[in-house]
């Protein structure tokens, strides 16, 4: 600070009286005196925080928590209502069979919004309560005051305090044994408004931050002949070939390469014709393949698979009266009914043929090779045989217990 500056400010009115101390203890003692004298507009300045000095200064609890609480509740409400509106009203989209508005899924966002708004409340409230930003302060002009951030402790009573009196206040501070007692004048040099350049750049930045949103709004409402914007070029146009594309590097010009003839994927070697085609040589196999055994477990597996894949059309009992058939018959749209599996010609078919029919389909019935594994198809064949038997068994073939039940 130059002398000329100080001179030009010398006519300024009094801002307050400054007392300087060497130790925090002296400052705390002085603060208690000023507090007890009933002053309101005064402050202390120290190079480091002194715990508990707020009590010595008579400072009451800050109102900041209320700012935070109110903002937290606003954030919570915003998160709740916005998600309610987007999920429940504006853009209803069924996700995994849950209600359109499923509040548990919203909690994380509500939580984040609560935290975000609380942080805004804490920051904004702190700036507001501290009168920040403060472009100028009379103490900035005091050369001596710079040591408040180094090794000196200050106490300033402002002239605007209702209790301030030129003589009494000086006497009071003089009685606290300060190292220095000086006047502080109002700042008539530094502009008290925020610098123009800073204002303008903030306005420009603020306006610029709206540009992306304006572009979004524009593109949502206007039509365009242009293709869409490719923000990440590499990902939209990858050099890798995709399925079904052409590639002139190969003779057949296909990007997808066929495996060499005779290639078999691991675990797909299907050597046993009986097991995988139901045929032995050119004729249908009579019994089950060697890897399938007629056990209780296989029977249950067959029952389950039959219930899933066959029963909808053929019916749970195999009479050709499944729910699909019942419904299709009432519609009368040229429905070819599924076969009753208890017909003599089907009962006479060898097991391999039944397996073949399930595998490849017949007439209207599609093949089920893609849905049902071979061992499960054989289990169905086994179950079907049991079903057929259940309609044609003689009394002699029953166990004693079953016969007893019939009586």
């Amino acid at each position: 600070m130059s002398d000329s500056e100080q001179t030009s400010n010398s006519a300024a009115p009094l801002y307050g009286v400054l007392a300087e101390y060497d130790t925090p203890t002296a400052l705390v003692k002085a603060a208690r005196k000023v507090r007890d004298a009933g002053y309101r507009r005064w402050d202390t300045y120290t190079p480091f925080p002194i715990h508990g000095i707020e009590k010595d200064m008579g400072i009451t609890m800050t109102k900041l928590p209320w700012f935070v609480l109110v903002m937290a509740l606003v954030g919570m409400a915003t998160g709740t209502l916005f998600q309610y509106w987007t999920n429940g009203i504006d853009y209803r989209w069924l996700i995994s069979g849950k209600p359109f508005w499923s509040w548990p899924a919203n909690i994380p966002i509500i939580f984040e919004m609560t935290i975000l708004f609380s942080a805004f409340g804490a920051l904004g409230g702190m700036l507001f309560l501290n009168n920040l930003p403060l472009p100028s302060h009379p103490l900035d002009l005091k050369e001596r005051f710079r040591r408040a951030s180094d090794d000196k402790f200050f106490l300033v009573v402002e002239a605007s305090d209702s209790k301030f009196d030129d003589k009494e206040t000086r006497d009071l501070l003089g009685g606290t044994a300060p190292v220095v007692l000086e006047d502080v004048l109002e700042d008539r040099i530094t502009s008290s408004v925020v610098p123009r350049a800073l204002m303008y750049s903030m306005v420009i930045l603020g306006a610029a931050s709206l540009v992306p949103f304006a572009l979004f709004a524009q593109s949502r409402s206007a039509k365009s002949r242009e293709g869409r914007l490719h923000v990440v070029w590499d990902m939209d146009f990858t050099p890798a070939y995709k399925a079904q594309e052409g590639n002139i590097l190969f003779g057949d010009q296909r990007a997808m390469r066929a495996p060499p003839l005779g290639t078999i994927a691991q675990g797909h070697l299907e050597e046993d014709d009986h097991m995988f085609t139901g045929k032995v040589g050119d004729s249908y196999a009579i019994g089950l393949p060697s890897s399938i055994t007629a056990t209780e477990a296989t029977m249950l597996q067959g029952k389950q698979q039959f219930g899933i894949y066959c029963a909808p059309c053929h019916g749970l009992g195999g009479e050709g009266n499944g729910m699909v058939n019942e419904r299709a018959s009432t519609l009368k749209q040229g429905w070819v009914p599924p076969s009753n599996l208890h017909q003599q010609y089907i009962k006479e078919q060898p097991a391999g043929q039944l397996f073949g029919t399930i595998t490849n389909g017949i007439r209207n019935m599609p093949g089920y090779a893609a849905q049902i594994d071979p061992d499960e198809r054989w289990a169905i064949v086994l179950y079907l045989r049991a079903l057929q038997k259940s309609r044609a068994a003689s009394v002699d073939e029953l166990s004693d217990a079953d016969r007893a039940q019939l009586k």
């Binding site: 925090p24 203890t25 925080p49 002194i50 715990h51 508990g52 609890m61 928590p65 609480l69 995994s96 548990p104 899924a105 909690i107 994380p108």
Partner: protein
């Protein structure tokens, strides 16, 4: 205190840590329990013993279904206090905490509660040894058939082996912290204190794992099909909550009896209250995370656990849990003034101890009462029983030590501690 402090005060190397911000504090409080105080220990033992005896009778014998479930609820509640104390003492060493020194001895004593808890675990462990599936249905192989692969983990011998490890570790650690803390008084000073900090780091890892698996073994295996990887953390939040609540009540009781009157101040209560408040929120965070992922994925083997708790009178019970364990205490404890006022802090400490019991009940009881909540005399008597025996033992252990670790070089910092 006086001798040691004077010594460290003269010693330049130590003086910094024994002083607060400029002010020097002399500890003139009463630091030992007297005969009259110990009467409470006897009373607690008597009340606890009688209550537990009645619970056994009312609950259908020691291996009756009702008693086993009521007892497990009470047991896990009591265990959480001792485990919380053990964790907290380890944490204070780990982070070189200064504010907490004046109440650390109380926590060290509360951590000794793992000793009675080890003995009290017998009614739960004997059925495991005898393959009695009253409580743990996985002891019956038929009931485990959906989760056969879990047999590797869920079998009586491995279960008992794990329990043995947990209790040896817990008891050993609790004894270790108390012993070392008392060694400080004989003059271990800064060197010993630093060593304890190094020890606490690996200890904390083992402790985290043992508490987690302990919670899984005692509570999660009640339903051998169900699993939740966050379950250990869920139980841990209960440990922290019940511990801090009990710590606050313990210190208040001591001050009422004329001990540690000037050492434990509003500032310390405020910090204990902050931990209670923080873990109220953390419990909700963990509990809801557990619920939301299971609700969203909607996989039968996970969902049924919550379905059990959201049907019949369990639905209002779950809602009451959410309200009393989160909404009400969260807003109730939010204010700084409430945490700095002994009367209100005492109210919330008792509140938390009650709702944490209800949380344990909510975890255990649906296993027995599938179709609706039914809190009975056996539940309450078991709770009083475990609480009484635990309290009696901890007070008894407090007999031979000072109530403040007077040898800790950071004691001055704790005495002069101020919240900003």
């Amino acid at each position: 205190m006086s001798e040691h402090t004077e010594h460290t005060g003269d010693d330049h190397g130590h003086s910094g840590s024994a002083h607060g911000s400029g002010a020097h504090h002399e500890l003139t409080d009463s630091l030992r329990l007297n005969k009259a105080d110990l009467g409470l220990s006897t009373k607690a033992f008597a009340v606890g013993g009688i209550a537990l005896g009645l619970a056994v009778v009312l609950g259908g014998g020691p291996f009756g279904k009702q008693f086993q479930h009521s007892y497990l609820t009470a047991y896990m509640w009591g265990f959480s206090i001792a485990l919380g104390a053990l964790w907290w003492v380890t944490l204070q060493h780990l982070v070189n905490a200064r504010w907490s020194i004046v109440v650390r001895r109380l926590a060290e004593l509360m951590a000794q509660g793992v000793v009675p808890m080890a003995i009290l675990s017998l009614p739960l462990l004997v059925p495991v040894l005898t393959h009695n599936d009253t409580l743990f249905s996985w002891l019956d192989h038929e009931k485990l058939h959906h989760a056969r692969s879990k047999e590797v983990y869920l079998n009586p011998s491995f279960f008992i082996a794990r329990m043995a490890f947990y209790f040896v570790f817990f008891i050993g650690l609790a004894a270790f912290w108390l012993k070392k803390s008392r060694e400080q008084e004989k003059g271990g000073g800064v060197e010993l204190t630093k060593r304890l900090q190094s020890t606490s780091a690996p200890t904390m890892i083992v402790l985290a794992l043992t508490i987690t698996f302990c919670a899984i073994d005692f509570l999660m295996t009640l339903d051998p099909i169900w699993f939740s990887t966050i379950f250990g953390v869920y139980y841990f939040t209960t440990c922290v909550l019940t511990f801090h609540s009990t710590l606050a009540l313990f210190a208040m009781w001591l001050q009422k009896k004329g001990h540690v009157t000037s050492a434990v101040t509003t500032e310390h209560y405020h910090d204990i209250g902050k931990m209670m408040f923080a873990f109220i929120a953390f419990w909700t965070y963990i509990g809801f995370s557990q619920f939301m992922l299971i609700w969203y994925a909607n996989i039968p083997e996970e969902t049924h656990w919550f379905k059990d708790r959201l049907e019949g009178s369990w639905l209002p019970a779950s809602l009451i849990l959410a309200a009393t364990h989160f909404v009400i205490p969260f807003f109730g404890m939010m204010s700084r003034e409430i945490k700095r006022n002994k009367t209100t802090l005492r109210f919330w400490a008792i509140w938390i101890l009650v709702v944490c019991w209800f949380d344990m009940y909510w975890l255990v009881a649906p296993n027995l009462h599938k179709h609706g909540m039914a809190i009975g005399a056996t539940d309450i008597l078991s709770w009083i029983g475990v609480a009484g025996l635990l309290m009696g033992y901890v007070l008894l252990r407090a007999k031979d030590t000072t109530l403040i670790p007077t040898g800790d070089p950071r004691l001055g910092r704790s005495l002069s501690f101020q919240n900003i």
